[in-house]
Symmetry: C2
Subunit: 237 residues, 2 copies
């Protein structure tokens, strides 16, 4: 059963439907607020609330004196789905495992400005491990954690809890940036992921911050042909 919608939501959905169906193309002039208030028999504030939500969603553009118009679709803002690795594997019904291969505390390399910034004057926890799905390697993870931001990380039992899950529980981040690229597997990657050398791999390089303060940087390497990322742009479902 569809829940009872408030009036401004109904107005919003009606207009959204016209736009998404293509009935109102880009640059089409949406009825004036006065017309809509007559049509729905409500106050202007109610119409305005619906319109404001449509602006927020990027579906319309409003211009004083001219009216409101259907926005041209933005090319560049699909929502990327980067599920975390354990849940991806478990949702396929496969057993998940994490094999820790390296875990040590060290100072940032002064030759690498990125590391120095991340460390923020303290030391770094460096971690490397392999995520397994059904006993076979699924992804290689190399991670640096700023101990200034997450001092407890050094004490965590990363042999049992993968570092991504530990951080998510303990140091919630507020900003993240991911870069996605492709590389050929070198000998080390090929061996760890059970691939032939030079196999194409998908690389997700993610940095996260907590209120401007860097927390961690992680590089996840997936076999390119066995994994893909999905991005969607469209109805907010």
């Amino acid at each position: 059963m569809t829940r009872a919608l408030s009036l401004h939501q109904r107005i919003r959905e009606d207009i959204e439907g016209q736009i998404r169906s293509g009935a109102w193309p880009a640059d089409y002039r949406v009825p004036f607020e006065t017309e809509l208030m007559a049509q729905y028999g409500c106050a202007r504030m109610t119409v305005s609330k619906a319109m404001a939500a449509l602006v927020e969603a990027g579906l319309i553009v409003r211009r004083k004196r001219a009216g409101s118009f259907v926005a041209r679709p933005k090319v560049h803002a699909p929502v990327l789905n980067i599920p975390d690795i354990p849940s991806t594997i478990r949702s396929r019904g496969e057993a998940y495992g994490f094999r820790l291969r390296l875990s040590r505390v060290r100072s940032p390399d002064p030759a690498l400005p990125d590391e120095v910034v991340l460390a923020a004057g303290g030391e770094l926890l460096e971690i490397e491990g392999v995520h397994d799905a059904a006993g076979r390697p699924f992804a290689l993870e190399r991670r640096l954690i700023a101990l200034v931001a997450a001092p407890d990380a050094a004490l965590a039992d990363l042999a049992t809890v993968p570092p991504g899950a530990w951080l998510l529980e303990n140091i919630a981040w507020t900003e993240a940036e991911s870069r996605i690229s492709a590389v050929n597997a070198d000998a080390a990657i090929a061996s760890l992921l059970d691939l032939h050398e030079a196999a194409a791999c998908l690389v997700v390089d993610r940095r996260t911050w907590r209120g401007g303060e860097p927390v961690t940087r992680v590089c996840q390497i997936f076999p390119g042909e066995a994994y893909d990322l999905m991005a969607r742009f469209g109805p907010a479902g």
Copy 2:
């Protein structure tokens, strides 16, 4: 100069700042609307508008009788930036070019359900070409366009206007889905992109619809080491 902000925007930004700075952690109870109206000396509707925007942005959660609380950050909804190829190249200050290599109208392959669905009972326009940056190959594009949805595409002068730009101008889409993966360049790709064989390439496979009706499917192949995609989660700037 910072523009004059309306009051509800200022309230919104003040609260957003507290959250993004980490001063108000997840589950922190933000001041009641009555407290905020006293603090800013305004009506409740004004506070409410700010709060509604924060809910829309996913920064807070509101519960009747209990109050409004800072939301725990969503893990997996970064906004992916897929700029279109000509503007990416031009923004680097390099000359952009498109070399059309193939353009023909054909029927969908009955063995490929995807093609049959895309064609929607009509024929397909198949296009292949290379995007050049500063005279060197930058990306290979293979595209199928449903002529049912875009009958004029067959008449477009795709030798001068790249098909992506043409479609954007003429058949605005409303929904898109992109899959991102990595492959090793085969002989054909390596030759067209001027890479050694087996070089890792980043593949963006995008399908678009217009109100549920399929419009086009495009596969763009980039040299993996020379290109990356960026995704961000955080301040909506």
